[in-house]
Amino acid sequence: MENMVQTAMQNVNFAAIMPSLVLTCFCLALLLLNAFVKRGSTSYAAFFSLVALGATACVSYLAWDNPQFGFAGQVALDNYAVFFNFIFILAAALSILMSDAYLKREGYPVGEYYTLILFSTVGAMLMASGTDMMTIFLGLEVMSIALYVLAGFFRRQLRSNEAGLKYFLLGAFSTGFLLYGIALIYGVTGTTNVADIGSYLAMNHHLVSDPILVGGMILLATGFLFKIAIVPFHMWTPDVYEGAPTPIAAFMSAGPKAAAFAAFMRVFLIGLGSMHSTWVGMLWVLAVLTMIVGNFIAIKQTNLKRMLAYSSIAHAGYALVGLVASNAVGVSAVLFYMLAYTLMNIGAFSILVLAGKVGEDNLTLQGFAGFGYKRPVLAVLFTICLFSLMGIPPSAGFTGKFFIFAGALNAGYVWLAVIGVLNSAVSLYYYLRVMVYMYFRSPEEEFDWVQLKPGATLCAVISVVGVLVLGIVPGAVMALARHALF
C-alpha cells in the first residue's frame, strides 16, 4: 500500500507540467480580474496575458536541455515540447497584440477573450508535451473547446456564430474518430502510452499489418489531420477562418496547427514508427492532394481572409512533406517551418486587421487597390509577408520550404519535392495578384480609416523582422530545431 503511494508520488513531477501550470494559474487570475474590472477596455487584459505568456516562456525555457518526465510517462517536457511551446506562446502573443484595437473596433471589448486564447495555449502545450494518448487528448480538447468559443466569439454576428458552430460540430465529430482510433490501438497494444505502444509494436512486428491496428491508426490520424487541415479533412478551415475574428483566424492557423503537428509527429514517429511503411504512403498522397487543393482553390478567392485560409491548407501540405520524409532533417524542418509560418502568416493577418473597416467587408482584392500608395509602410510589410509565403528568398518562407524539401530529397522523395515546388509556383499567382492590386492598380479609396494601432503594428513589425531574420540567418534556429528532436 505505502510503496504504491511512494511510487505514485515519485511519478509526480510538477516540473514536467510547469509551463501549463503557470499559464493556467494566470488564466484563472485573469478570469477573476475580469469579474472585477468594468467592461469597456481590455487593454489591461491584453497586457496581463502578455505578461502571463512571458512568464510561461521563461518557465519553459528552464526545461531546455533539462528534460522533465513525470506522471508515469504521461508528460515529457523535452526540448521538442519546449520548442513547440515557444511557437504557441509566440502565436498567442502576436494574436493578442493585434486583438486589443480590433476588439474595440468590432465592439466586443471582453476580457474573457484573452483568457480563452491563453487556455487554448495551455491545451496546445499539453498536446506538445503529452506522451500518452490521454494527455494528448486532454490537451487537444482544452485547446479546441476554447477555440470553438473564440471562433464564435462575435455573438451578434451570424458569420461568427456559423463559424463557431461548424467548427464545433466538425471538431467534435473528428474527436470521435480520434478517440475510436485510440481505443482500437489500445485494444491491440494494451496501452495508451506512446513510447510503450512503440516498443510493443517494435517487439511484435507481426501486428503491424493487423487490420484493427491499421484502422485505429487511420482513425487516430484523422483526428490530427483534421486539426492540421489536411485534405479531405480540411473543409472547415476556410469557413471558420473567414467567419472567426481575424486575430483568432491568425492564431488558429499557427498555434493549434503546430500543436496538432507536435502530437501527430510524436505519436506517429515514436508510437507508430513501426508502421511507417503503412502510413507514409497515405501521407504522401494526402500531402500532394492538400497542396494542390489548397493552392488551386486559393487562386479563385477574392476575399483575402479566405484566400489566406486556403493558403494555410496548402502550407499544411508543405509541412506534411517534412513528416513524409520522416528523417531528422525533415522533422526538424517541420519544427522550423511551423515557426516560420507562424511569423509570416500572423504578420499577414495583422495587416488585414489594420486595414479592415468595421465588419471587414473591405478585405477583398479590390479593397486593396492602390493600398501601396496610400499606406506604403503597411504595404511593404504585407508584401514581405506575402513573398515569404511564396517562398522567395531571403525570407523565412524560403528557408522553411528549402529545409522541408531538403528533408524530402534527402529521403529520396524526388517527385514529392517536384510536385511541391510546382505547387509553390502555382501559389505565386495568387500572392502576386495581391501585390498587383496593391501596387499596379490606382487607389480607389483614401484608406483614411487605417490608423497604425500600436499593438497590431508592433505585431506586424515583429513578424516581418522575424521573417527576415529567419530568412537571412536561419542557421541558429534550425540548429535549435535539430537539437529539439526527441
Partner: protein, 535 residues
Amino acid sequence: MSEHILSLMTFFPLLGMLIILMLPGGKGGLLKCTTLVITLITFVISLPLALDPVFKTSGAMHYTEFAPWISVGDYFQMNYSVGIDGISLWLVLLTTFIMPITVLSTWQAVDKNVKGFMALMLLLETAMLGAFISLDLFLFYIFWELMLIPMYFMIGIWGGANRIYAAVKFFIYTAVGSLLMLVAIIYLYYYAVNTGGVVNGFSVTDFYNLNLHPELQKWLFLAFAFSFAIKVPMFPVHTWLPDAHTEAPTAGSVILAAVMLKMGTYGYLRFAMPLFPDALQQFLPWLAALSVIGIVYGALVAMMQKDVKKLVAYSSVSHLGFVMLGLFALNNIGVSGAILQMVNHGISTGALFLIVGFIYERRHTRLISEFGGLSKQMPVFAVIFMIVTLSSIGLPALNGFVGEFMILLGAFESELRWFAVVATTGVVLSAVYMLWMYQRVMFGKLDNPKNQNLKDLSVREICIMLPLLVFIFWIGVYPNTFLEKMEPAVNQALSQISGEARAQTYIPVCTDAEQQGKCPHTYGVDAQGDADLHL
C-alpha cells in the same frame, strides 16, 4: 580592403538603397542624383578588378571570400563564398558600368514615385552582382531569385499598358524554371554528401569534382538547363521576353537586356555545363539546334514587328542564340566569343533600348509606322542610332562583329559545323530587320506632323550614349583587352567540361565531412526501430 572588394561592391548598392529610403520621397532630383552617385561609386569600387593583371595569367577564382553561413550539424552547410574569374569579371563590370547609365536614362522617364524606383534599381544591382560572384549554389540561388522581385515591380508599376500581364508572366515563367533548379541543387548536394563526396557546403568548385552517374547527370542537367534556358531566353521558352521588354520602362529593359539575360548564359557556363559534362555531351546537339533555331527564328520574327521595342526584344533572342551556340562550341574561340558577345549584346542592345526610350519619351509611341524621316529633325540622334544599329548588325571593326565572328568560327571548328553554317544566315537576317527598321524610322519624308518639331538629343542623352559608343569601338578594334583576361578562365572552364580537371582526387575541405558522408538516419523505417530515438 582589397580582399573584401567583392562584398563591398555587391552590398554597397544595398546600403545605398537604405540611404534612398531615408531620403524624403518628394525630391525626385535629389533621389536620382544620390542613386547616380551610389552606382558610380560602385563602378569605381569594381574598377580595380578590371585593372588587375592576375586574370591574364590564371583562370582560377580570385578575390575569394569565404565565411560559414548556415551550418546545421550533419544536415547541411551553406557558406558565403564568393569569387571572380575572367569569365564573371566582365559580366560584373558590365553590370556596374551599365547601372549609372540606366540611372541617367531615368532622368525624365521616371517621374512617379521615384524613390521606389531608385530603391529597386539598387536592390537589383546588388542581386545581379551577387549572382555573378557567388561560388556557393545556395547563395547563387538566393540572389538569382531575389533579382525577380525588383524587376517585377519595375515592370508592373512603371511599365506600359499591358504591364500587369507582362510582370506576372515574367515572374512566374522565370520562377517555375528556377524552382526546378532548386530541387536539382538540393538533390545534387545530398547525392554528393550521401555518396561520401567531400563538399564544403554547396560549393560549386567542389561539385565540379564529383563524378556523377550519367543517368543522374541527365536529370540534374535538364533541371539546370531548363531554368537557365528560360532566362537566356532560348527558343522556345522565350515568349516572356517580348512582353517583359515591351512593357518594362526603358531602364528596366536596359537592365533586363544588358545584364539579366546574361544570367542564363553565365549559368550555363558556370554551372550547368561544367557540373554535368556527360549530360552536356548527350544533349549538345539538341541544345545547339535550339540555339540556331533561336537565331533564325528571332531574326525572322523581329523582321515583322511593328513595335520598335518588340523588334529589339526579338533581336535579343537572335543574339543570345549566337551566344549559346558559342558556348556549345566548347572550344576556347567559341566560348570566349560567347562571353565577349554577352558583353557586346549588353552594350549594343542596351544602347538600342535607350534609343527607343529617347524617341518614346518624345513621342510616347513605339510604333514604327508613327515615325519616319527623323534623321532630318535629329541628325545627332541619327548618327548614334546608326552606329548602334551597325554594331548590332555586326559590322566589322565594331564590337558585334568580333563576338559573332569568333562564335561562328568556334562553332565551325567544333562538331557543330552545320549549325554554324545555318547560324551564319543570321548575319544576313540581322541586316535585314535592323536596317529596315532604321529606314522606316529615320529615313523617308518627315511627313508625320507630330514629328515635325522633335528635339535632337540633349547633352545628358549624349552623355548617356557616349560611354557605350566608346566601348562599341573599343571592343571592335582592340578586343584583346577583354580576351586576354578571359582566356585562362575559359581554358579552365573548358578543361572542367572536358573532364580533364575532373580526374583529381577529392581534397578534404571541412573536418566533419566524414559524418556528412553518412545519410541522416530515418525514423522507424526499419521494424526494430533504433532505440536511441525513443524517450
